[in-house]
């Protein structure tokens, strides 16, 4: 049995990283005497799962000294040796770094004084891709043991990798492991022990050890004079592989993969590809996406309706009764406090909380689509649509995120490489319909279009997409004419059976966000609305706290603004007041609407009836046309103040204010156009 102290001492090597040298082995090793074993591999190759299996999930995550990159560290106890310091390095596809994370991995692997042995994780289901890194690591003077993961996934696709053949080809031990079931980790330990007994293996000699080289002076060897294939376009950095070396490497990978792999069932592999052919097809793909989203909204509205009704009855019944009883017991009946609790908190926040079951169901369904891998295919469809319209392909990310919440979506524009791309996308994001707006759609759709609420909500999302496209084209044809495109090949994750734990985590995170909004900013707006509702309007003659809501300062102020919306059919103070409050957050539209109607009607029930009556009167007998105009306005005007704050940070105050003006003008024009058109043809 060997002790850790008996292991070969690392050789002196130059500093591999700025800020990382031999004195910073502590960045990898918990104790300076522990031999350091680095886990390296491509992203999503099962590296971290193997790390957890080897260390018993004893993971400490911290920034590597001198960098902002996180690495995982843990102790791997191997009986024959003792304790090894295991470092889970950031995933990388090659030793030619593409990011700070990969730069750290590359630097640590190149520094033999930092790492005593590399456990190279190769994904059997994506062997070719794994071999790019394997070839690079095998040029380094370091002990290597290959851990072959994802063998079950490969088997499902009819692919078997022969570990012995692969080992012979790579010149280092190859061990099949199944870290998810914690199998074969003993075999990996034995291989590591054996590797420590051996000398450092000789390099394969496939590519230069440093991968350094000058920029290519001409075209690739296969090209004739005058070739325009573009392979010589753009001078690579000094760190990059020469093209001729890359061609040789690719040939070696193809040969190795062919030699070590047995394909027993091509049909199974093609089944996933076949699904992708349909769901990412140019015409059928978008139609499938729309159909899927329609089904999501249908299921959401139908499944949630009874739950929502039950919660509504709960707040308007037992909760209201309890508040009244408490106020009576405290001898505060009929006072301002009771008014605030009943007409403010219970009516406003309570109404919003009735949407929790609905939001939960929708979040679960969307999480199902994400975790199954379908949403990535939807991104392909969106990317292609953006590209066809001449919009930047990568802009689809913030736009897709925007359908969840506009705030992180606008933050995400920073991934765009071009300032004009960032500006254009930040101006388009507010037209993506966030989940906060969904509550308003559902309430209005259920009130004015009972039985077709799901379809109406779905239509709002279609209109949202159309607005993004049309407004994008308008800007592209005017202010952003010189902007180029940015084609992409998406790295699609495999389809998988959704995991309940992941679904639960995603859903809870989103529901919690909704609840935090209801408990924070909505309580604040409810308070302000209630306060304005108990202050008498100028000339009304009432007293503070003893005024009808229709004679309040709130109604008076909303009435002043409501004139603007008469051409759109909803120029009445309840709706317009809710729109103004909705500038803070769209959930506040529902709460303030419920508040003012509860105060007027004296109870919580019948909000739908009140809204229907208000719209009927304001629209001259065309409540559905006015409701659609209202929904369009909700969709197109400023999402919330938080969006403006992040917009200002990303694109500056001038463009932010310009965007607000454009959104308001467009929202108003569309609302008026919708109302007037429907009325004209009805």
């Amino acid at each position: 049995m060997r002790a850790a102290a008996d292991l070969p001492a690392p050789a002196e090597r130059p500093d591999p990283l700025p800020g990382a040298n031999c004195h910073e082995r502590s960045g990898l090793a918990p104790t300076s005497t522990s031999p350091v074993v680095a886990l390296a591999g491509p992203p999503n190759s099962g590296k971290s799962t193997l790390f957890n299996a080897l260390t018993g999930a004893g993971r400490a995550v911290a920034n590597y000294p001198g960098t902002t990159v996180e690495i995982g560290r843990g102790r791997w106890v191997v009986p024959e040796i003792g304790e090894l310091a295991l470092a889970d390095l950031p995933g990388t596809y090659s030793l030619n770094p593409q990011s700070p994370d990969e730069e750290l991995t590359t630097g640590l692997l190149r520094g033999a004084d930092l790492v005593d042995l590399v456990v190279l994780v190769c994904d059997a289901a994506h062997l070719g891709r794994s071999l790019v890194l394997a070839a690079g690591v095998r040029e380094l003077p370091v002990r290597v043991v290959v851990a072959l993961t994802m063998n079950d996934v490969a088997a499902d696709r009819g692919v078997t990798v022969d570990a012995a053949k692969l080992s012979k080809r790579l010149g280092v031990p190859v061990v099949k492991v199944d870290p998810r079931r914690r199998r074969e980790t003993g075999a990996l330990s034995a291989a590591v022990v054996a590797a420590f007994d051996e000398s450092v293996p000789a390099p394969l000699g496939l590519v230069p050890a440093t991968n350094a080289g000058s920029s290519p002076s001409g075209c690739c060897p296969n090209c004739p004079p005058g070739c325009t294939c573009g392979m010589d376009a753009g001078a690579p950095d000094q760190e990059h592989l020469e093209l001729a070396d890359a061609e040789a490497l690719f040939t070696w990978i193809a040969e190795t993969s062919e030699m070590a792999t047995t394909r027993t069932d091509e049909v199974r592999r093609n089944r996933s590809d076949l699904v992708d052919r349909w769901v990412t097809a140019p015409v059928l793909g978008p139609l499938i996406f729309l159909a899927v989203m329609w089904a999501v909204f249908q299921a959401t509205t139908r499944l949630a309706a009874p739950l929502q009704d039950a919660l509504d009855a709960f707040f308007s019944g037992p909760v209201s009764a309890a508040v009244k009883a408490l106020m009576s017991a405290l001898r505060l009946s009929g006072g301002l406090i009771e008014s605030f609790l009943l007409n403010g908190i219970v009516a406003g926040v309570g109404m919003l909380l009735t949407f929790v079951p609905l939001m939960t169901i929708m979040f679960v369904l969307l999480a199902l689509l994400e975790d199954s891998g379908y949403m990535a295919r939807a991104a392909v469809v969106t990317d292609r649509l953006m590209g066809a319209l001449g919009l930047p392909g990568r802009a689809f990310l913030p736009l897709v995120v925007g359908f969840g919440c506009n705030v992180p979506a606008i933050s995400a524009v920073k991934v765009l490489p071009d300032a004009r791309h960032r500006l254009l996308t930040a101006l388009l994001v507010p037209f993506t319909s966030c989940t906060a707006r969904l509550t308003v759609y559902l309430m209005v759709a259920d009130t004015f279009f009972p039985g077709n609420a799901g379809t109406v909500v779905f239509a709002m999302y279609v209109v949202s997409i159309l607005l993004v496209v049309l407004f994008g084209l308008l800007l592209r044809g005017t202010l952003f004419r010189t902007m180029g495109n940015d084609p992409l090949v998406l790295d699609l994750p495999p389809y998988q059976r959704p995991h309940p734990r992941v679904l639960g985590a995603i859903t809870w995170t989103r529901v919690r966000g909704f609840l935090e909004t209801a408990g924070g900013i909505i309580v604040a707006t409810v308070t302000v609305v209630w306060l304005l509702g108990v202050i008498p309007a100028p000339g009304s003659g009432g007293h503070f706290g003893a005024v009808d809501i229709a004679d309040s300062l709130y109604a008076w102020l909303a009435g002043l603004v409501s004139v603007l919306f008469s051409p759109a059919g909803f120029g009445e103070w309840h709706a317009v007041g809710a729109l103004v409050v909705g500038f803070v957050a769209k959930e506040a539209v529902i709460s303030s609407w419920a508040q003012t109607n509860a105060a007027a009607d004296g109870d919580l029930t019948g909000l739908s009836h009140s809204v229907l009556a208000d719209f009927t009167a304001a629209s001259g007998g065309h409540p559905q046309a006015a409701a659609l105009a209202f929904l369009i306005f909700i969709l197109a005007y400023t999402p919330c103040v938080a969006t403006l704050a992040v917009q200002k940070r990303q694109i500056g105050l001038r463009w932010t204010l310009g965007g607000v003006a454009m959104q308001f003008a467009l929202a108003w024009l569309l609302a008026v156009a919708v109302f007037q058109t429907i009325v004209a043809f009805s």
Binding site: P42, P43, S48, E70, Y93, N96, Q98, P100, H126, G128, R129, V132, L133, G136, N222, M231, G234, P236, H240, L243, A246, F250, I253, S257, R269, D273, D276, R277, T280, E370, A379, V380, D383, R384, G387, R394, L397, V401, G404, C405, P408, S411, K414, T435, D486, P487, L488, V489, L490, D491, L492, P493, P498, A505, T509, R510, G513, T517, A642, V646
Partner: protein
């Protein structure tokens, strides 16, 4: 006097893959269909091309994964009210 022209050699697999990246194919499967290569070889080719500096891997969608928030484009929005999370990361290859 006639001038002789050198017939164009067929593009190498790496050249074919690079051409598809520049065209903006939907995914490795689509590149495989267009080039006649296997998906695994397309993936290997993409990683190899990245090593030459001709293409780059970019993160286009990140999630709250155990790997942390370092590269997440939504990092500043993460943890805010209603901020989205996702079950997986979505990356892409783009030509440099």
């Amino acid at each position: 006097m006639s001038t002789s022209t050198v017939p164009a050699a067929p593009p190498s697999p790496l050249q074919s893959i690079l051409r598809e990246v520049r065209a903006g194919a939907g995914g490795a499967g689509e590149v495989a269909r267009r080039t006649g290569l296997g998906v695994d070889m397309v993936e290997a080719g993409l990683a190899t091309l990245a090593a030459t500096g001709r293409i780059r891997r970019v993160l286009v969608f990140a999630s709250c994964t155990p790997s942390g928030c370092g590269g997440c484009p939504s990092a500043t929005g993460c943890g805010t009210k209603g901020s989205p999370v996702s079950a997986s990361e979505l990356s892409a290859w783009r030509a440099v």
